[in-house]
C-alpha cells in the first residue's frame, strides 16, 4: 500500500486570492505521469468564506499502488522536500 505524506508547513503553496488557487510551483502535479495528484483547499475558512490554504492530495490510490513504486518523480522534484511516499 502506497501512502502519501504531505507536509503543508514545508510546502506553503503561494496562493493567489483573486484566482482562488495556488499559482506557483505545483511541480509535483506537472511531473506526475499519471496525474494522480491534485490540489484541494484545506477545510479551514478565511474571513470572506474562501479557503485559507491549499494542500496536495493523492487520488486513485489503487493506481498509485501500481505506478508509484517505479516513479517517485514528485518526491525527487519537490524543491522543499514536502512530499514523502512510504510503502
Amino acid at each position: 500500500m502506497v501512502k502519501f505524506h504531505y507536509d503543508p508547513d514545508r510546502c506553503d503553496l503561494p496562493y493567489d486570492p483573486r484566482e482562488y488557487r495556488p499559482t506557483k510551483c505545483l511541480v509535483c502535479l506537472d511531473v506526475c505521469p499519471h496525474s494522480l495528484l491534485m490540489f484541494r483547499p484545506m477545510e479551514e475558512k478565511g474571513e470572506d468564506g474562501a479557503p485559507k490554504r491549499y494542500e496536495i492530495h493523492m487520488t486513485f490510490k489503487s493506481y498509485a499502488d501500481k505506478y508509484c513504486p517505479d516513479c517517485l518523480k514528485c518526491v525527487e522534484n519537490c524543491p522543499t522536500q514536502a512530499i514523502r511516499i512510504t510503502f
Binding site: Y20, R21, P22, L26, L29, D30, C32, S35, L37, M38, F39, R40, P41, E43, A50, P51, H57, T59, F60, K61, S62, Y63
Partner: protein
Amino acid sequence: MCKYCKMHAEGHGKWYLNPRGYTEELFYKLTLLDRILGRPSKKVRDALKSSDSAWYPLPISKQLDMVDWVSKPFIGRLIRIIGNYIALHSHSAQVVPLEDALKIVDLSHDHALYPCMCKRLFKGQDEYKCLNFAPLTEINRRVERGWKEKRLSPEEAKEKLEEFSEKGYVHAVFWWCEIPQAICICNCDSKYCYAARPKLWYDIENVYRKAEYVAEVDADKCTSCGQCITRCQFGAISLGEDDRATVDPTLCFGCGQCRFACEQNAITLVDRNTHPVAKKIW
C-alpha cells in the same frame, strides 16, 4: 441508440438533440419538497455549489477517493452500481463526434468558455476549453467566487470546437442531474480527465458514456501510416496482421478524432447499434 436516447430523445434521435434539454423550464422546475422548503431546484443548488471555483476541488477529491473503493474485493461491485446511479443523477457525460457537437451549439444559446477544471486541478494549468451554455452560464455569473469566463458568439463557439478537434481533444456533452438537461461540452484529454479515468480505470459506465458511433477502417484505403494510432486517446487502434489499421470495437469510444488524422479518409463512423460487438458496450 442507447437506452437513455430511447427514453429521452422524444423523436429527435439522440437525447442531446432534444431541444427540451436546452430550455430553462426543466432547469428551474421545482418539486413539491422544494416548494414547501422554499428553496431553488436541485439543479440550481448543484450548479451554485459547482460554480464556486474556490471550494469545488474538495468535493471532487472526496468523490474520487470513493471511486477508488471499486477496486476493493467484495464491496467493489456494489460501489460500482452505486457510482453508476449517482453519475446518472449528477453531472456526467457522453462522448459526441464533432458533427453532433456543432448541432448542440445550434440548439443552445449564451455560450462561454471556462478553464478546464481537470487540467486546473491535476496539471495546475488553466486552459479555456470547457464550453458552457445557458442556463449554467447565468448561474456561474451569480456566484461571487465563480469561474472567469470568455463569452463567445455561436460562430466563435463552432470555430473553437473545430480548433479543439484539431488538437485531438474529445468532445463530450454533459448532462446535469437528469437526462436530457445538457449544460456543457467539455473537450477532454483523458490523461488528466476526472470523468474519463474512472471509466477507463474502474469501468463505471455512466460517468463517461461512449458515443452513439463506432469507428471502422476501410482496409483497402489504409496506407499503414499510423497517424490514427497516435491520435486515439483510448488505445483502440492498432496495426493488424496485414499491416493495416484495425479498430478494437470494445475499446473505441466513437469520438471520431481518428478520422481527422487519416489523410486517405479511410476511417468512417458507423452506428453503434448496427455493430455486432460494440452495441452492448457503452
